[in-house]
């Protein structure tokens, strides 16, 4: 059965992959079920929560709304690609140190949204961090620790005078 579907090829975290699945299958499900990359989470399944955020050709997208055929030939980055040789990415390290993750369901999406933000804007202001993460919902942390994690990873931000500044 599954072999009946034409192969769809793309690159995930630098590796070429091919899947034979229905073209309308969500990229989210292909990552989780077919490629066993279960770091990417499903929250709402309708574009509202951001827990399924990945980067596709350098753009942040919600993988629950991407039919896998639209990812053909694309470069996909998921949370699994952040660490290298067992060393955490600075954002992952910062989330650990600043308490940016509690239950962890939102964390992979937060990390991808934050990666995307810092790739475009290495020293974002708090307002820019809020906007960059506005599509990612967290029901545990109250967001402040997440913003602090991003600030810590960025090293510094414009107009930032210390963590207390952000706690308001």
């Amino acid at each position: 059965m599954s072999a009946d579907w034409p192969a769809i090829r793309f690159i995930v975290n630098g590796e070429s992959r091919a899947v034979r699945v229905p073209a309308m299958k969500r990229l989210l499900d292909v990552l989780r079920e077919d490629l066993r990359l279960t770091g990417t989470k499903e929250g709402c399944g309708e574009g509202e929560c951001g827990s399924c955020s990945v980067r596709m050709n350098g753009e942040l997208v919600n993988s629950c709304l991407v039919p896998v055929l639209q990812a053909e030939g694309a470069e996909i980055e998921t949370v699994e690609g952040l660490s290298s040789n067992g060393a955490l990415h600075p954002l992952q390290q910062a989330f650990l140190e600043c308490g940016g993750a509690q239950c962890g369901i939102c964390t992979p999406g937060m990390l991808m949204a934050a990666t995307h933000l810092l790739a475009r804007n290495p020293h974002p202001s708090l307002a820019e961090i809020r906007e960059g993460l506005a599509g990612n919902l967290c029901r545990c942390t109250g967001f402040i620790r997440i913003f602090e994690s991003v600030i810590a990873a960025a090293g510094s931000t414009r107009g930032h005078r210390g963590p207390a500044d952000h706690a308001r």
Partner: protein, 291 residues
Amino acid sequence: MRGNPEAHELLAPGNLAAVLALLAESPGEWTPIAGGTELMVAHAAGRLDAKKLVSLWGIAEMRFTRSEADRFVIGAGATFGDLRAHAELAAELPLIAKAASWIGAIANQNRATIGGNLVNGSPAADSSPAMLAYDTEVELISVRGTRRVAYSAFHTGYKRNVLAPDELMLAIHAPRRFAKHRQYLRKVGPRRAMAIAKVALGATALVENGAVNEIRLGAASLAPFPTRLHKAEAALQGRQVTAETIETACSELLAEARPIDDIRSTAEYRRHVGANLLKEFLLELGREPVP
């Protein structure tokens, strides 16, 4: 109930000519899907009726923004992220960039296309008031050729438009003649981003020798589809902006608006908020120094 991916066919021919040929072969059978931020949400809920879909994503001939001497030509496949990033467009036609910043958060803006927003035809579509206020035209294409239609005549009813079954929206033509106009766009909703507007008003007006020389009012959620407010415009055209003309224009708006009642708001509330937005714009306009 979640949709079953096996129940839908999806093709990605990869170029415009091939998509148009497919549409022409069996008109009405194929549904275009661009960024999928409407259709995939319907799919997730198991209410995507279309069984055969053809992808427009990644077709370079549809995703562009071109500046010409007298207009911007915006590809229907341009995303709201693309439009926000276009510095020249954002400087000259700021209402478009402002509306683009409302279409969900970054991940949604990176997929949501302007063509998808306009063709989907929600009465509350966030890009529509600006498109109406800027007097845009939409360019439609099929194997039979292209044609241009005023955007104000594109919608014909609730989720209905002038597209033929074998046609796509190719581009939006936005004139570059609003530098001297007063421009306004405001949406009233629960919050700015990621929330569906209860009411929105976009407006452009040119005041010359103390009188309104040109005015366009584009409204979302004041009718079953995005619409110009022609009667309110007529009440202002050629007149001075005074307390009286403001009063008359607002009552014309109340008379011509025919919003729907839904879970987000009532028709009565929408009409009154619409009139308040118009009043806010006109008070600003009245304060403008006469050139």
